[in-house]
């Protein structure tokens, strides 16, 4: 098991990828830990505006991340 991270919009360019797997779940056991981890992996992410969805549900405060979860980093939407 691992945590799957998805990047969308301009975050793909900031990170150079559209997805990644984090095998060591302890590194990212909650949303704040995940951000910290990603900021150290991808310094260009820091300061970018994005929302987080865990298993396709938006979160607006610190949330636990479980092994096997799918976490999406989503900049402001621009559909239509």
């Amino acid at each position: 098991m691992s945590v799957r991270i998805l990047f969308f919009g301009y975050l793909v360019e900031k990170t150079g990828r559209s997805s990644m797997h984090i095998n060591n779940h302890n590194l990212v056991s909650d949303s704040e830990g995940l951000k910290k981890f990603l900021y150290s992996e991808f310094p260009h992410l820091e300061g970018q505006i994005f929302k987080i969805a865990i298993n396709r549900e938006l979160i607006n405060k610190k949330r636990e991340i479980n092994d096997g979860d799918e976490v999406a980093l989503m900049p402001p939407y621009a559909g239509g």
Partner: protein, 143 residues
């Protein structure tokens, strides 16, 4: 009810749109169809002109959100039918990237419903777009 399909790869063709309109003729209880078509504009930015837009989506979440918006629209307005389709991938200027068609007995509520639906789509559905210019450069659009 069959699973709704909300995405089309590339531009939404006039053939698709006319098909959407055509299949409602049999329902004689309907008095109004209101249609919104979103078209890719050839905006000019710093002497460059938009050639196409590339849409990317978080498909499973977007499908879920489209369905929620649809359900809410049926709760709020006396709609008989509602069709929503959005492009993914490349859509050129002058082509259609979003089509919404709401059908009901009377025009007033149908107009209101359509406005509600389009605004909700803009606000809530995880879709992103990148403008591609005539010189080949690209920029992600931040709203």
């Amino acid at each position: 009810m069959t699973r709704a399909k909300f995405f089309i790869k590339g531009a939404i063709s006039t053939r698709y749109i006319s098909g959407m309109i055509g299949k409602h003729g049999e329902n004689s209880g309907l008095g109004a169809h209101v249609i919104f078509l979103g078209q890719v504009r050839s905006d000019k930015k710093n002497k460059k002109v938009v050639k196409e837009i590339q849409y990317s989506v978080y498909a499973p979440m977007a499908e879920k959100e489209f369905q929620k918006i649809k359900d809410e629209a049926f709760e709020r307005y006396p709609l008989h039918c509602l069709h929503i389709v959005h492009s993914t991938g490349k859509v050129g200027t002058g082509e259609i990237s979003l089509a919404v068609m709401a059908s009901a007995g009377h025009r007033k509520k149908t107009f209101e419903a359509l406005k509600f639906i389009v605004e909700q789509i803009k606000k809530r559905v995880p879709i992103w777009k990148k403008e591609v210019y005539d010189d080949g450069s690209e920029v992600w659009i931040k709203h």
